[in-house]
Symmetry: C2
Subunit: 201 residues, 2 copies
């Protein structure tokens, strides 16, 4: 059995990443999912390692220092982050893992774990991205301008990614990503054991 | 517009390459096809550049010497070969080209043109390959043994290929190759112009 793939998807705000990832999980239900680490306290029935990995602030900061946190954010005074080692464990068991990361997060993960398959989601055009951001109806013109400037900066990082998928429609983009997953499984480097076992018959 | 892909498929005799390629051409009808060069004379209505490129023996030998022939064979005293430059022309026009080459031919093409996407077709097992060869009913046991020895030698070259696809069923193998084609189109190196044009909007 060969290792599972670690696939990370990034793209500018408004590109439709969440919808595409939801569609992909529907198409390929056995993708593994990353569980975040947080420094907030568990609520109600929440269990460690199910909804979140619950760690103290000090423990979280130690994980950051150890390079174990791919990316993190601070929200209402608490840390929320994506830990590396559970991904490597899932991959080691032959499980493919699909990750929703920021552009910086994907690049950080690729640096830590070179075999990561990184996919950049592109809008059909900047004009279309702007009209999607306006269409949300929740953001002021000033905020839309700010997001557009941020989007351009992020798109400049596309050359660091393995693949670029344009989100013309959800079905087409999710279909292309599913094709990338199938193709990556067929790379010789991931099938060398099958070749060896065939030759040793 | 970016260049078309040059995809070459190889595998041991009996692996089912012809059937899979036929299936692929049915699934993706706009694949370009390589036209062979031959030193035999045109027959009936055959036209140069349609059924074959017709060249004299001396011209063919010159093409070999110039490195223009990817692979060739001699049949009833005449040369038959796969020329390189028409593939590069088709690719330059944005057309994907699908090639059926020997293992040695794929490796030679990859050396001449590094961007070639090379796919090795593997039987599900050597036992299965043997029974497919026997199933043809046209080959003596001695010839089957010879082909099996040849198959093992060829499979040892699989590590030189980009992808390895196991032919469990025609549909699955053709589907995996179609996924490889879609994924290769999504590689950043082939989409860099789209990213540039988006940024220059």
């Amino acid at each position: 059995m060969s290792n599972g793939l670690i696939i990370s998807i990034s793209g500018p705000s408004g590109v439709g990443k969440g919808t595409i990832i939801a569609k992909l999980r529907e198409m390929i239900p056995d993708f593994g999912q990353s569980i975040s680490v947080t420094s907030r306290d568990p609520r109600g029935q929440e269990k460690d390692g199910v909804e979140y990995y619950f760690r103290s602030k000090e423990e979280f900061e130690k994980l950051i220092a150890e390079g174990e946190i791919i990316e993190y954010d601070v929200y209402v005074g608490n840390y929320y982050g994506t830990p590396l080692s559970p991904l490597l464990t899932m991959s080691g068991k032959g499980q493919d893992v699909l990750l929703d990361l920021t552009v910086a997060g994907s690049l950080a993960l690729k640096e830590k774990f070179e075999e990561t398959v990184t996919i950049f989601l592109l809008p059909p055009s900047l004009k279309e991205l702007r009209s999607r951001l306006i269409g949300r109806g929740t953001e002021s013109e000033e905020l839309v301008d700010k997001r557009m400037a941020q989007a351009k900066k992020e798109i400049e990082n596309a050359p660091e990614f393995d693949y670029v998928v344009t989100n013309d429609t959800v079905e087409q983009a999710a279909g292309e990503i599913a094709a990338i997953v199938a193709a990556e499984h067929a790379r010789f480097v991931r099938r060398s054991k099958e070749v060896d076992s065939l030759l040793s018959e």
